[in-house]
Amino acid sequence: MFDWLKPNDVLWLIPAAPLLACLWIVVVGHVVRRQYAHRPVVVAIAISTALSYHLLLNVVPTGFVERDHGAHAETAAAHEHAEHVDSDTPADAEHPDVPEAHTHAADASGPTAISTTLYEWIRIGSEASPTLSIPVKLRADAMTALMLVMVTTVSLLVAVFASGYMKGDPGYPRFFASIALFVFSMCMLVLAGNFLLMFVFWEAVGLCSYLLIGFWFKKPSAAAAAKKAFVVNRIGDFGFILGVFLIWVTFDTLDFDVLFANPLAIRAIVSQQPEIFTFICMLLFVGAIGKSAQFPLHVWLPDAMEGPTPVSALIHAATMVTAGVYLVARCTPFFILAPKAQMFVAGIGAVTALIAAITALTQYDLKRVLAYSTVSQLGYMFMALGAAGAGTNLATLAVTFAMFHMFTHAFFKAVLFLSAGSVMHSMGDVIDMRRFSGLRSVLPITHITFLAGALALAGFPLLSGFWSKDEILSIVFEATKGTQLHSIKVMFPFTNYHWVIEFTTGTYYTLILGVGLLASLMTAFYTFRAYFMTFWGEQKFPEEAGHHPHDAPPAMAIPLLILGVAALIVGGIAGPTHLYGNYLAQTPGLPAGDHLQPNMLMMGISSVLAILGIGLAYVCYVATPAIARDMKSSMSPLHAFSQSGLMLDYLYLRFVVLPLRLLAQIAEFFDRWVIDVIVDCFGFVPGLFGAILRPIHSGYVQNYAMVMLIGLVVCLVSVLRVLAGTL
């Protein structure tokens, strides 16, 4: 029976609802009732959201109860669940409402995942045992459910916000069609049951990102930013697809259930090719670097702020950019076999966190501050993911903490961006913080919500960011206890001289911990720098704002308030109570790990750093603004260095873009003056032959008969000559 209450029967509806909304707008809503184009989208996302919560409550049999590793009771329960799902299969086949629904429980011995195959997209080879089979298979487990809840909730609130924010824009239906397409793609990315399908929707969210960054495509800067985001992401995607190829070559399958639920097969491959997982993981991580804006490919994200602010909040802060984190978390069974790759992940995360934080210190564009802070926070998440390089026992915790930070970050960064959008809305699209100040009394709601988000981001004690960031710092702290010795051999080209750097895992992670703490201080500082510059000081408006700047209308205010409350408390509810961790641990493929006691040292240090950062910002920007001015003038080269994003854009321009452009010009010259000329010559030849044939089509019937006769004679002679030869 088709059962609305059974998660695998409604799985397909989660992405289908936004897709239908998108199609509806493209076909109908684009023409009629344009100003109501947000309605189908909001309704569709609301359906997806409801179903996601339904999935969250039902996908894992034991729910939020702690998972007891190795206990028989758990195994038996999982067995029961598997049988329960299996017993429904024939009933499903009878009922054609779900296209070719095949449900089965994978990995009966551990936590389970549910899946639905909608359609066989690619099959090579026989039906029974295909060489390559790529079904469009939706698969959900605990991690998927948590991601879906986060994605759909934030999407819903942002869509409601955008219905107010985008009002009156000529591209109103186009905007909501793109948003719906994005939600569809993101849900499919999260639900994908194999690597290729995931890659397809990985690209699809990239496409949506491109469409939405360039939403105001008539603005040259927006068009350029969209192009930059797309091109930079391509580099990462190239690594990802190579990684997928390598997985295919190694395992002969791309199916998550087969790959992750089968430790024996993985171990067999490790014994044959010990380094293969390092390669696979590095390539997959290259994909994550691109999508999640990690150094050195993070340069696209700040520019992506050219898009409408709800897009920045949804795609470039809360959801799409976390796809890289999700990818690495999803591939944990691979990463635990590649400690080197994990250390690399942690290193890149730390470098990104630091660079982005330094850059954010001096930005004047409110949205760019938030963008760099997003980059920095994503760096934190990768830092956590990489912490498991110190020992497999940390893997589950590392994934949990990274995913948890992603979860809380989604809420507080979304509220920050939306508040920034609200500021922009009332300031007549001006976002330069030097041109307005003292908005506290003018925009009371926005002020409160921004403050909530800022406190959470800064890691103010007992708020969301505090819990999640503290967990990340404590797992890195755990990792500093590693003792394994590593060495890097630096070769100098053309000489025999080389230089060996030796260090232990502990030293490495200590360094990263230091960076993490420093970045957390800077986070608090730059967040509150932006807050104080915008909302404190003397009241000042740009002339674009008109005379009476007004606060957010209800359509914008309600999502802001909901998100603001969520930003404050969601971390406290789900973090210290281990709700999130216990639930996530039910994901199949995550190794068993121990609990981590709350690390009081780290909590103390990070609280002090957060309050110190906020205090410093207060001193510099409210109490005695002269300090900030003096520091700026006394350290102007450093200031310029930070403001230009450590000159990375300049370096890219100089050493990547310009050489490529030169190459393109050479290629164009070659194409125009060599290839084209050759092609033109080829084009000339048929005309020449045609001109030769033309005269015999004279129009005289006697000529025609003559040529026919000659043709006949030629044929006859040729046949008879052949015949004479054979006789």
């Binding site: 019937v701 025609y704 006949l712 006859l716 046949v719 008879l720």
Partner: protein, 504 residues
């Protein structure tokens, strides 16, 4: 006496649909003069009645043909094997399209006779496919030729039409003489006019395939029937006649004689091995393969290169039909020796059906898009069609894409099958032929796409208001052809498995 009556009865049973067609022809020829006054005036709208009558006739013939059973083994004058039934289905279906195209092309007074001629031509094609005797085959071929002369002249009697008809008449007689010459040699070599007996003579071994008489006969038959295929150098009439004749007549000439020619060649140039049905072991006399190879190449190239030079749409389509004849001859050269999946003959038969819908569809749009003051003649008349008649421009583009051989149209599958058959035969010459086919497909793209470009990128030359009523029969025909062109791409399996069952 009784026995011969029974034989006659049995033979008529095999060609009942053709008998229906011919009965209708007699009826129209008999009745039509009485409905026209002495001064040549007819009641207004009489042509509609003739049109409906023709469609009805085709429907009845089709219904009878649908219920007919295969009778591959007969010693009588007719056979009804799979090929016969296939050709019958093809001619009756395209015949309906042709009736629709011709609907308003002849005025009321002459409509009856010209519709009767069309039906007679269709019956002739079916009889060619059903013939089991050299004499019967020749008579069937003439049953196509003689009504064609009338069909060319009846709708229009101006000087270009007269010239076109006369050219066709003279050259057609010439080619018929060559065919007859070839048949007489075949008779001389085998001593019988019964095709089944001739096949058995070849199948029983001996020196028959190497007999010089047979070689001469083969060349003569190819040359004579090549006229109907518009194979180079027997194609010369095509551009002049297409230009001079009424568009519906040109549409008929572009397709129907080709069916007759290819089917006659399949029946005549026969087999060297014994088989259940004649097609199963179809194989050409070796000495003729080379001739046909060269003819195919010359036909493809001449058709395409000349089409490149044309500015008159009708001449362009004439040369395009020449080049398509060349493509189909590739299938004939490959014969049964293609791959397991695709033999040359099956590719040829498939292409024949596809070519029918796409070329008739193109003509249908040309007829429907004509303005009140002038027909579509030169490329300039097509300029800006996308703006004046966007739907027609789009549909014509589909047909042109199909003629080019681009997916998602049936023309792509047709060319692909031919290419695949030639390539998988595996000999050097057949692979060269496949490559030349590819080159020619590219050449063809040039002028077809140019037509699309003219329709979409140029401004209309004549901007005067057009008050001509919609040409509904042609539009219905175009819709049917569109369905075939797109449908045979997305769901080719019905037709394809049928063809496979014929030749295997």
């Amino acid at each position: 006496m009784n026995e011969s009556l029974q034989n006659l009865n049995g033979a008529i049973q095999l060609v009942l649909p053709e008998a229906v067609l011919l009965a209708s022809v007699c009826l129209i020829f008999f009745a039509a003069p009485f409905l026209v006054s002495e001064r040549g005036e007819a009641p207004v709208g009489l042509r509609h009645r003739w049109g409906w009558l023709s469609l009805l006739t085709l429907l009845v013939a089709g219904w009878i043909g649908w219920n007919a059973t295969e009778m591959p083994h007969t010693s009588g004058p007719f056979v009804a094997d799979g090929l016969t039934l296939f050709v019958r289905g093809l001619t009756l279906a395209t015949g309906a399209v042709l009736v629709l195209l011709h609907w308003n092309q002849a005025d009321d007074a002459r409509s009856g006779e010209s519709h009767a001629c069309l039906l007679a031509i269709l019956a002739g094609v079916n009889l060619v496919a059903a013939a089991n005797d050299l004499v019967g085959l020749f008579v069937a071929l003439e049953l196509i030729s003689i009504p064609t002369y009338l069909f060319l002249l009846l709708p229009r009697r101006d000087a270009p039409a007269q010239e076109a008809t006369l050219k066709y008449f003279l050259l057609s007689i010439f080619s018929s003489a060559i065919v007859l010459f070839g048949m007489s040699y075949l008779y001389g070599a085998t001593g019988t006019t019964n095709l089944m007996a001739i096949h058995q003579g070849f199948a029983s071994g001996g020196n028959l395939p190497h007999n010089p008489l047979v070689a001469v006969a083969t060349v003569m038959l190819i040359a004579g029937l090549g006229f109907r295929l518009t194979a180079v150098p027997f194609h010369f009439y095509a551009p002049d006649v297409f230009q001079g004749a009424q568009p519906s007549a040109a549409a008929m000439l572009s397709f129907v004689p080709k069916v007759a020619g290819f089917v006659a060649l399949l029946r005549l140039l026969v087999p060297a091995a014994a088989g259940e049905t004649t097609l199963q072991s179809w194989m050409m006399i070796p000495s003729a393969v080379n001739v046909l190879w060269w003819l195919a190449v010359a036909t493809m190239f001449t058709g395409n290169l000349m089409a490149l030079m044309q500015t008159d749409v009708r001449r362009l389509l004439a040369f395009s039909s020449v080049s398509h004849a060349g493509y189909m001859m590739v299938g004939l050269v490959v014969g049964m020796q293609g791959s397991q999946q695709v033999s040359g003959i099956s590719a040829l038969l498939y292409y024949l059906a596809v070519y029918g819908v796409m070329t008739l569809g193109a003509f249908a749009i040309l007829i429907a898009a004509a303005r009140s003051n002038r027909r579509i003649e030169s490329l300039d008349d097509l300029a800006g069609l996308s703006r004046t008649k966007p739907a027609m421009a789009l549909v014509l583009s589909v047909f042109l894409f199909s003629l080019t051989g681009l997916p998602p149209t049936a023309g792509f599958l047709g060319k692909f099958n031919l290419f695949f058959a030639a390539w998988s035969q595996g000999t050097e010459s057949s692979r060269l032929l496949a490559c030349l086919l590819g080159v020619n497909a590219a050449l063809g793209a040039w002028y077809y796409l140019r037509m699309i470009g003219v329709m979409y990128l140029r401004d209309p030359v004549d901007r005067s208001d057009d008050v001509r009523p919609l040409e509904i029969p042609s539009l219905v025909a175009a819709a049917g052809c569109l369905l075939g062109t797109v449908g045979l791409f997305f769901a080719p399996s019905g037709l394809w498995t049928h063809i496979q069952s014929l030749v295997r």
